[in-house]
Every structure is written in structure tokens, then in C-alpha cells.
Symmetry: C2
Subunit: 327 residues, 2 copies
């Protein structure tokens, strides 16, 4: 099958670029130094490729992702890097399950739900989940008193990963990891889980990095000058053309828009509506032409689609289900 | 089942508010005066309710939506208000199928694909699909020469529907519909299809209105002071709380973000990330509390979810599949 035979919009993964990204990361952070975050691709098939590159432990953002990886035989060491108040589905998994906790309530949910291992989630600067560093030791003690094994700490420097200035990123990561190290001293355990695609080679405190976007990339991360290449695009068909602009069939339901509009090569994007992108192409296009639309944010883009189409040049090699969507 | 028993995030439809919205619209625009756009809810079950309110003809944005309605027995009169370059799946449907065309290429695709009826799609001011008004007559002639029946014209005043000033909306609709009327004189046929939730009672030129958002509404449309009430929210669980903010499990993969961040009652929303919303609540919340998150844009929000949970107060009456997602 050729790209021209696909119904559009269709999510395309460039086979060689994906492979290059996976190789670059597994070379920099081999084996357990990297715990790939599956939230970016939501596909057990892509997780299998990361496993083939030596990473046998995974990070998840949802219970559905945990269940899917366990069912696919990838349950050696699964971390739900997120808080839950009902852990019963996690407790029922045939897998090694660790869940993040940051409060008495989430510790209680883990214990009641049948989860056996936890990480203390520490706020290192991103205003999201995570306890204050000075509370981590007390929470670890409480977790152990509830019969839970505390493997260590987790702290995501998500407020830092997108800073385009590398030396600033380095300073900010150091400040964040100072907080995580302090918490780790109080908590104990082997695991210090942190980091993302933007800090994978800057964060030297973490025992494991939770990067996800590196495999497919997006235009936001591409701006950082990392050694990972854009491998994900949406193939679209030009539906309408006039002297000022063209319209293609890739809109708000095929693109995560929180990081802004997508990019189209040799064109200026005007705006997206539900099923369309309006753009000024240079040179002129014709109705029926196919174009590539480059998403600004990989995660919420992927979550709209049913399949990746892995392609080498014009040839579609395979279709991989995006089977970890939903909750 | 109660709301408290649902896994979150969960899309909730208030049963009474939905019914009130459907009744308000079917009273204002009974029967064929209204051609509900299913792109907003993507659910054959909700389309069935619109049919029960007297609307037997539907508007779609994708081929998948057309196929789903036909398979559900709602194929009396289906309009694909969008251009396609491959109409074979449409030609194969057991339904009355009309498709929008705006170029020789889309006319050819309709003819080759086995579609029998078309509307000439006219640009009335929104920079998207649609021919120039003065080209409509020639395209109609070309369509007829290819054996297609031309039912009339279509022209969506999407650049107008969100204007909060009603008298400005009226002026802009009049200007747009002047263009559509001119095209209609050249094209002929019975159908003048246009309008949306923001212009349903302002557009007196259209023979039928294509509104979709009115059934569920969102915070953007709620700002217009229309007689439709917000019926759609995302139920979320508070995962983490501290003195400054709280975090709940409703993020970028549960919300269309192109119209901006969602709204939370008695709270200030700070930002969303993939699976979280961070917000400053007033009064203080506790971990495990349930909250309602009100989306800014209904269409791309619904497209992330598998089900609507229709609820009356705290009771979940039924779960309806969002079965028209994808393409």
C-alpha cells in the first residue's frame, strides 16, 4: 500500500526516523536508565519496539495504559506516574505495578486497591501533583505502615523541559533535582524517577528518565535542538484551493491544539476548524494534492487517532493500533 | 448507578438540559427547517433523539458520520457538508446522500464515486471550502452535465456565529446570505443550507439550518445568551490539593483546547496538561472530591471520549456510545 491509497486524515510515522530516535535514546540511556512514557504514543506496538531497544520498564499516565501494557506482556515493571483514588484495577493486574502517591488519601487508595509498591511523588516546581519535599519522608513512613513497599521518589520537572535555552534548563533542572534529592534522603529506596525528552541528558540525579515524546517528536520539542527528529505527521488531502489560500482535511479533531496551530511545509497556517486547516501555500497546490501537517503537541494529537501508519518514503509498511486511548 | 461510581474523567450529559435544548430548537425550527449537524455529538443515539424531535435530515462533516447514520436507519436525507476527493464509500451507502462540491475535481469525485445529489458549496465569508458566489452557476451546470442532481446551495457563515453582539451578527448574516442568495439564483434547486447555533434564529434566508452545538453547548456558545443551556461537562476527581491550588484528572486528552481552557465552577483554572487540570478552588476542596469541568469547545472535546453518561442529578440513566469518531 502507498500513502496515496490512505484515507485522510491519517497519522503517519516515518519508519527510519522512529528507529533513529529509539536508537539515539537507547544509546544515551540504555536499559533501565530509561523508563519510556507511553502516554505520548499510546500504543503497545510502539512500546514493544522500545522494549526491543532494551527498555523493559515503562511509565504510564492512566490505568488504561497500565492494563494495556500488562495484557501485551510488557508488565515487568510498570509505573503509573499519576495519582489515583481507586486503585482496584491496578491491584488486579498480572504485572509489577508501582503507583505514585502524594497524600494520605492516595496511599490509602493504593493499599485498599491491592497495589504493593509506590513512589512518593514530590513537587519539584511544576504546579501539579506531588507533595512538598519536606512532607515526603512522613508520607513514606505512612505508606510503609500501611504495608506498602516504597521504592523511592518521583518528581517531574515539567516546568523546565520546554525551556529553549539549554544552560537555563540545566540550572533549572539542578534546582528541581535538589528538592528531589532532599526528599529522597528522607524517603529511601532505589528509585529516583524524573525527567523528560527536554532534560533526558541534563538530569543526572534521576536513576531513570521518563521521556515519551522523543520517539515521535513534535514542532514544540523540535525547537529545542535535541538529537531526535520529527517522525510524526498527519497526511491530509487538499480539498479546496483559491488564489489566496488552500484548505485540507486535517482539523481540530486530528490535532492537539494546546501548543498552537500545526505547521505545514512551505506554507503559512491561518487556522484550524473541526475538520479543516486553512493555509497559504507556496507554491500553489491543486485540489487532491496530499500534504503533511506537523502537529505542535504529539500527545493530544495521537489520542484522537485509531492507527499509526508506519511508512518508509511512500510505502506504508504497517498499521499499528493506538490501543491505549481512553481511561 | 450514581455519578460517584463512574471512572473519571467521564463525559456527562444532563438529561433535562439536553431535552430542553432539543425542545427549544425543534420548537423554533421544526422538522426540515432544521438539519442537525452530528459533528458536535458524534453519536447515533443522540441523532435518534433529534429525529424523535422531528428532524429527519442530518448534516455530517465526515464520511464515517454518514456511514454511521445510514447504518442506524437515519439515512432519509444525509448531507455531507464537506468536500471529498474519493466518494466511493458515500456512493455505496443505502441512504439518500448529498455531498457538497466546490470545484470541478469534487464534482468529478462525486460522479465517479456513485453519488447522485450535490449542493454547490459557496464561500460566504469564512475562509474555508466553498466557491466564489459568481462561480456557483457554472459549477452547477458542470455537475448537471456529469449526471448529478443539484439540489441547491450551501454556505456556512462560520466567521459570524461566534460574534457576541447580536445586532452585528444580524448584519453579518445578512451580508453573507446576500452572497448565498445570488449564488442560489444562478444554481437553482430547493435547498439553501446554512447557519449554525449562533445564527439559527437570525438566518432567515436558509431553507434549513445546520446547527449542532445547541444540543450540548459549551462555554464559548454560552457567552452568546442563546436559549440553550450547558448540558455537557466532564466529571473529574480531585487528585491532589495544597494551600494554593488543586489538581483534577481532566486534561488535554479529555478537552478540546482550541477555544482555550475549560471552566470550573467557583475556581480559577490555571492550566491543563495531558491528564490534569490545575486550578485554584474557592472554597477549598479535598482529595477525592468530584468536580465538573465545563469545556470551551464541545466538538473536539466529545471526539476524545468513548461514551456520554446521561445523568439526572446524581443518577446515571444510561451510557451512550460516541460511535461516529474517526474518519
Amino acid at each position: 500500500m502507498r500513502l496515496a491509497d490512505l484515507q485522510t486524515p491519517a497519522l503517519i510515522v516515518d519508519a527510519e526516523r522512529l528507529e533513529a530516535n529509539l536508537l539515539a535514546m537507547s544509546t544515551a540511556l540504555p536499559g533501565e536508565r530509561m523508563r519510556p512514557h507511553v502516554k505520548a504514543h499510546k500504543s503497545t506496538a510502539l512500546a514493544q519496539r522500545q522494549a526491543a531497544h532494551g527498555h523493559q520498564s515503562f511509565t504510564c499516565a492512566t490505568i488504561r495504559e497500565m492494563e494495556g501494557l500488562a495484557a501485551a506482556g510488557l508488565g515487568d515493571d510498570l509505573l503509573l506516574a499519576n495519582e489515583v483514588l481507586d486503585a482496584r484495577r491496578l491491584g488486579a493486574l498480572d504485572a509489577r505495578v508501582t503507583v505514585a502517591v502524594d497524600s494520605p488519601e492516595t496511599i490509602e487508595a493504593a493499599a485498599v486497591g491491592g497495589v504493593r509498591e509506590v513512589l512518593i511523588d514530590v513537587n519539584v516546581g511544576l504546579p501539579r501533583c506531588g507533595c512538598a519535599p519536606e512532607e515526603a519522608g512522613g508520607l513514606a513512613e505512612r505508606a510503609r505502615s500501611r504495608g506498602l513497599s516504597v521504592r523511592g521518589v518521583m518528581g517531574y520537572e515539567g516546568h523546565v523541559v520546554g525551556n529553549p535555552d539549554r544552560s537555563e534548563r540545566e540550572r533549572e533542572v539542578a534546582a528541581s533535582m535538589e528538592k528531589l534529592s532532599a526528599a529522597h534522603r528522607d524517603v529511601g529506596g532505589d528509585v529516583v524517577s524524573a525527567g523528560g525528552t527536554g532534560t533526558y541528558d541534563i538530569n543526572h540525579v534521576a536513576s531513570e528518565i521518563q521521556a515519551g515524546s522523543y520517539a515521535l517528536m513534535d514542532t514544540a520539542y523540535a525547537a529545542l535542538g535535541l538529537p531526535f527528529v520529527p517522525a510524526l505527521s498527519v497526511l491530509a488531502t487538499v480539498l479546496s484551493v483559491n488564489a489566496r489560500y488552500a484548505v485540507a482535511d486535517c482539523g481540530l479533531k486530528a490535532l492537539g491544539m494546546d501548543h498552537g496551530a500545526p505547521t505545514i511545509d512551505a506554507a503559512k497556517v491561518w487556522f484550524c476548524s473541526d475538520e479543516h486547516v486553512t493555509f497559504a501555500p507556496e507554491p500553489q497546490l491543486r485540489v487532491g494534492d496530499r500534504i503533511r501537517v506537523w502537529p505542535a503537541h504529539v500527545d493530544p494529537t495521537v489520542a484522537y487517532h485509531e492507527y499509526f501508519h508506519v511508512a518508509s518514503g511512500d510505502e506504508v509498511l504497517e498499521r499499528l493500533p493506538i490501543d491505549l486511548r481512553g481511561w
